[in-house]
Amino acid sequence: MSGQRRRHATLIGLLSVILFTLATITTTVSSASAATSYVPISGAGSSWSSNAIDQWRRNVQQYGIRVNYASTGSSDGRNQFKAGTVDFGASEIPYGTTDNGVTEPAPSRGYAYMPDVAGGTAFMYNLQSGGKRITNLRLSGDTLSKLFTGVITHWNDPLIKADNPGLTLPDFKVVPVVRSDGSGSTAQFTLWMSKLHSSVWNNYCRSAGRKVPCGETSNFPVVFGKGFVAQPNSQGVAGYVAQTANVGTITYVEYSYAIKTGYPVAKILNAAGYYTEPTASNVAVALLKAQINNNPTSPSYLTQQLDGVYSDPDPRAYPLSSYSYMIVPTQIQDGFTSAKGATLAAFANYFLCEGQQQAEVLGYSPLPINLVKAGLAQVKRIPGAVVSSINIKKCNNPTFSTSGVNTLAQNAAQPSACDKKGVTQCTIGTGSTKGSSPAGTGTGTGTAPGTGGTGSTGTGDPGAATTGGGTTTVINAHGSTSCDADTGICQVVNAIPVDAPLPSSWGISQWFVLLLCLLLVLAIAVPPIVVIAARRSHRS
């Protein structure tokens, strides 16, 4: 009897300790959030730009700005903004496009477009030759569109060989990996195909049962039996290609995903006859030719027209460059309040100014000064925005200059002679795989430009790559890259300045993890102990 009572006392004691801990945690959390004047806001949409948005929202947490963002695809972002379930949307394409015969209606709530970042739709691939990964593939526009429409079925196709005189291409099947959800990346890529390679694209569309002319579409039509794979989201397609065993796959995804997963991207032939990579400077060069809607009264103010980009005669231009947009509300309705407006405006002011510095490291390209200015003007249209005069010179945006020219584009390095059409290709890899191509001779890698620097990529300099025991650290244009020697998976090691709290080795988060571990152990251990105890007391 006395034993049973003691057990009960222990149980009650244990419970009270748990309750007390929980109460302490809740009070700490609530007092922390009460200290700031911002309210949490939420957004959804583009996974093309989500690597940049995610980085920015992590950065603004230190100011107490809480931004929730779901990278569910541009189509979903536009629809959710229209339905009023999110405070802002992110999308590659505006409202009003005609997709598969259906024109998307504009939302009834007041809205405005605001460019958030530029970038290149890259073609990330997983290809091996003789047990080594190919990292310096080049593709012309014609070959590219035939790859994604099932015309070219094997990697050793003569068309691909013509683009790559220096490569021994394997007899692998081509497996195009496309998006299964409604996606702005798909829209950008199919728009380019419909403009430049319309017959190939229309033939494919017809075989998929769509009406021709097909035009741009957010949902890539998949013909069963052609060996296409469809995955949801940019993370899904990039994650699929990045699985070591999935050799022969190629997908379209923003350049940042290729850098993140450590896989190479194809250099695409531009109108000047050079194969280029979607680096920040090449994208900046190409987008000088983008036509921006300059009519502030138009509902599609600031949206882009990319025909000039596709045919840019500059040898440095990357043809599939584009801007990504945020859709922000201009009226108080659908649960959008002026408090939310103030938070959204503060967030937008951050990413339009300081945030652009990180675009290049992440695999994007910073916005030029005219779009930053126009974006900041759009911010003022958000209800509740606290009008703050931002000194645009302090943004340290690498494209800015006193004379008004785009510094990043002006100082972009000319392509190497080996990137010219018909010449045996360069041996240096792309993305974060620089200096590791089978056709290469072990050439070293480029040196890193300073923050906000000129963006010039040096070559040569063997020995910049240091080989460690388990990991290889390569210094390249995107900062340090750490590669695991066993898996070959590379990760970009970016140094991004943030205000760190006082260095403490054991903080609240560590306690929290410990508590979680304890709770997990308790969840496993308590039920059997209770049952055994109950059975024993019952027996006695």
Partner: protein, 325 residues
């Protein structure tokens, strides 16, 4: 002569009893009402798509509501195939686990095993999906390839486009398949099947067990002759409840499969489909009419799951173990 008039019986329940009856009755009615409302809501929202599509809704394989070509023939077959693969894997796994826990496991670790299996049910399905996509997919393809190469003459195991003499076989043909999605779903439904089987096995009457052992049967003989026949209803019912869950499993399937809109019966081949993952994939971007079509697909799944669950509960109730529980 006086006629005996029976005394009028007045049932007087005390307040505690009345409160309990009220709460229990209210709960029961609420559950039924919610079910009914879900069904009515789905039917109402689906009516626009169903009335425009008619019977074609059940026979068309494409899914393109905005151009008027849509039907659930392909996705429904895909859903059933994924669920069947899951059941084929989960049933033996759950039976073995439940038998081990109730019959063979030492007393001291029995409760621990029960908690572990219950904990398996507590893992969020998105975690199963991540695991399936990033880990299982890369490691299961050699098995898929082996099955298709050796049993490819059975239609469901054949994979089109495979050249056995290809020196550079790619694994992509075997990824994102019904088979892989089915394995992941199998792990998700194993705990619930195990829990139900464990309950009924534990109820097998002690007298009959001892009788079997006294007649000289081994432990396995006793299980075969007493425990399994006694628990048959529970085994079937539990499996069908698991099947109901497998049919509706969404996010893990969504992450793994590469959706195709044709009837695809080659379970090892890339390309699969399911109703719930189709809804998850398309509801965000659908036009009002597209949403109505998705609701119609959801209604079909709802009705199908309902039928299966009713069948399961009636089987459990009619069995010996179910009747006593």
């Amino acid at each position: 002569m006086t006629v005996d008039i029976p005394r009028k019986l007045v049932l007087r329940r005390d307040p505690v009893d009345r409160t309990f009856r009220g709460v229990a009755r209210g709960g029961g009615i609420a559950v039924l009402t919610i079910m009914l409302l879900v069904g009515v809501f789905l039917a109402f929202r689906a009516s626009q798509a169903l009335s425009s599509d008619g019977v074609k809704f059940l026979t068309v394989q494409d899914w393109d509501p905005d151009s008027g070509k849509f039907g659930i023939a392909a996705v429904l077959v895909g859903t059933v195939l994924i669920a069947l693969v899951a059941i084929v894997i989960a049933f033996p796994l759950a039976t073995g686990t439940a038998l081990y826990i109730t019959e063979y496991a030492p007393r001291q670790i029995r409760q621990w095993l029960i908690s572990l299996v219950d904990l398996m049910a507590a893992i969020p399905s998105v975690v199963y999906g991540l695991w399936g996509f990033f880990f299982l997919q890369g490691n299961i393809t050699p098995i898929s390839r082996w099955i298709s190469q050796n049993f490819g003459w059975i239609p469901i195991f054949s994979v089109t486009g495979v050249d056995p003499n290809d020196p550079l076989p790619t694994s992509t043909l075997y990824t994102s398949s019904t088979f892989i999605a089915g394995i992941v779903v199998a792990f998700m439904i194993t705990p619930i099947i195990t829990a139900i089987m464990r309950e009924v096995f534990a109820q097998a009457p002690l007298g009959e067990r001892e009788g079997a052992l006294a007649l000289g049967s081994t432990q396995w003989g006793m299980i075969r002759s007493v425990v399994l026949p006694f628990g048959r209803g529970g085994m079937i019912g539990g499996t069908m409840l698991g099947l109901g869950r497998a049919l509706g499993e969404t996010i893990a399937v969504y992450m793994i499969i590469s959706p195709v809109f044709v009837i695809q019966t080659h379970i090892l081949q890339n390309g699969a489909s399911s109703v719930s993952s189709l809804i998850a994939l398309r509801y965000g971007e659908a036009s009002p009419f597209g949403l109505s079509a998705l609701m119609a697909a959801g209604l079909t799944l709802f009705v199908m799951t309902l039928v299966i669950n009713f069948a399961a509960s009636s089987i459990v109730a009619r069995s010996r173990s179910g009747a006593s529980s």
